[in-house]
């Protein structure tokens, strides 16, 4: 499990934790039912407040990425395929938006962009 906090980022710290854990869960780097550190331990390690890590875990739990068993701790949830797919699709959308923004910046047309996607999709 890797978490790197940036204090200069515009993204709130709890969201940085959420996004990094989500990514590792979706990629399978964190496996199903793997135990996660306690919120207090995580806050100590990351040097952030307890409320921040608590909020991150709450959010991950609400979205179904982790489960918390009272008195035992938090674990990586069994994520179902649909959710996994949805998360991936969302990631693709984000990356595509980024690519399109860059394309617009240099004046690439939709057709040119589509051609590019086709070529890359079919393999170079």
């Amino acid at each position: 499990m890797n978490i790197i906090i940036s204090n200069s980022s515009d993204e709130p710290i709890y969201l940085q934790i959420v996004n990094q854990l989500k990514e590792q869960i979706v990629k399978g780097e964190l496996e199903e039912s793997q135990p996660l550190p306690s919120i207090r331990n995580l806050s100590k390690e990351l040097k952030v407040s307890v409320i921040t890590t608590k909020r991150a875990y709450d959010e991950l739990e609400n979205e179904g990425f982790i489960v918390t068993v009272a008195g035992k701790g938090s674990y990586v949830a069994a994520i179902n395929k649909n959710m996994f797919r949805e998360a991936k699709v969302k990631m693709i959308e984000e990356k595509m938006t980024e690519a399109i923004d860059t394309a617009k910046m240099v004046g690439l047309t939709l057709e040119e962009l589509q051609d590019m996607v086709k070529i890359i999709y079919k393999g170079w």
Partner: protein
């Protein structure tokens, strides 16, 4: 009982300064940073909490108990770290410890020894010869050696170097691994300690300006910078502590979303630090009147 400390409508008047009915609540298991400029009432509040001075009116409950009628039993459960050295200068660290020890029924010599070792306290040195950082570490070791559930610190980091502040941070976060412990500390400088604070209470002129989680505070506030024209046309957003110069203005706003909606990209919007928030809220009013 989830509130470890509850202060309600607390007032205290002096000739030239008064605390005006302040309210502070601290939940068990969390750290609260009590911030404000010099002379804003932080130390007065802490002295009232510690029952070192008498309040005029209001209520202070610690561990759910009234702090005056349960003075002794409450103090058994509090660890107190004060900015200035209140130990006997002529005694050695060990002698001073032996003097404090009998006052606490739950004193735990093992814990003290562990901290003494971790902090590398020179047990046989006279207190007057300790550095400022070492004095603070000694205070902290004393404060933590009787299983205190609430640690109260008045300006613990003032005058300490960054390395010792960072060590202090480690000790406090280790302490908070136990979710039954809480920490309340005051400071007038934004120190590294703010990183780990769960709640922030800002006091100015004897009044509580705000008290909420640090995350909320930093997320909803923003600093706005723009041209003076933008400021003069409309200011419906209740800017706080507006500061103008010949070329533009800067201000703090309580509602980041509204600022984005109103101004979009035409102003610069920045993430504030706690220091920014303190400065903008407490800037004296004669400092932000415009120059014309």
């Amino acid at each position: 009982m989830n509130n470890i400390m509850e202060i309600t409508d607390l007032s205290k008047s002096y000739k030239d300064f008064s605390l005006k009915g302040i309210n502070i609540t601290l939940e068990k298991g969390y750290i609260m940073g009590f911030i404000g400029p010099n002379g804003s009432g932080k130390s007065t509040t802490i002295k009232l909490i510690m029952n070192l001075i008498k309040k005029d009116s209001g209520d202070i409950k610690i561990f759910g108990l009234d702090n005056e009628s349960n003075n002794l039993s409450i103090k058994e459960r509090i660890g107190f770290v004060y900015d200035e050295n209140y130990f006997y200068e002529e005694l050695t660290v060990k002698e001073m410890k032996e003097m404090v020890r009998p006052f606490y029924s739950r004193w735990d010599e093992k814990i003290f020894k562990r901290y003494a070792k971790d902090f590398e306290l020179p047990l046989n040195k006279e207190i007057k010869h300790l550095s400022k950082g070492m004095k603070m570490k000694f205070s902290l070791a004393i404060a933590l050696s009787h299983h205190a559930e609430l640690l109260i610190m008045d300006e613990p980091t003032s005058g300490l170097d960054p390395l010792i502040r960072s060590e202090l941070l480690d000790v406090l976060q280790s302490l908070l691994q136990d979710e039954n412990k809480s920490i309340f500390f005051s400071t007038h400088i934004t120190s590294d300690l703010d990183k780990i604070a769960d709640f922030i209470t800002l006091i100015n002129n004897g009044e509580i300006i705000l008290s909420k989680t640090k995350d909320e505070l930093l997320e909803e506030h923003c600093i706005v910078k723009g041209s003076k024209k933008q400021l003069n046309i409309d200011n419906p957003l209740n800017f706080i502590g507006i500061k103008q110069n010949d070329f533009g203005f800067e201000a703090l706003c309580r509602d980041k979303k509204a600022v984005i909606k109103q101004y979009g990209d035409s102003v610069i919007i920045e993430k504030p630090t706690l220091e920014d928030i303190t400065v903008f809220y407490t800037r004296r009013s004669d400092h932000h009147v415009s120059s014309n």
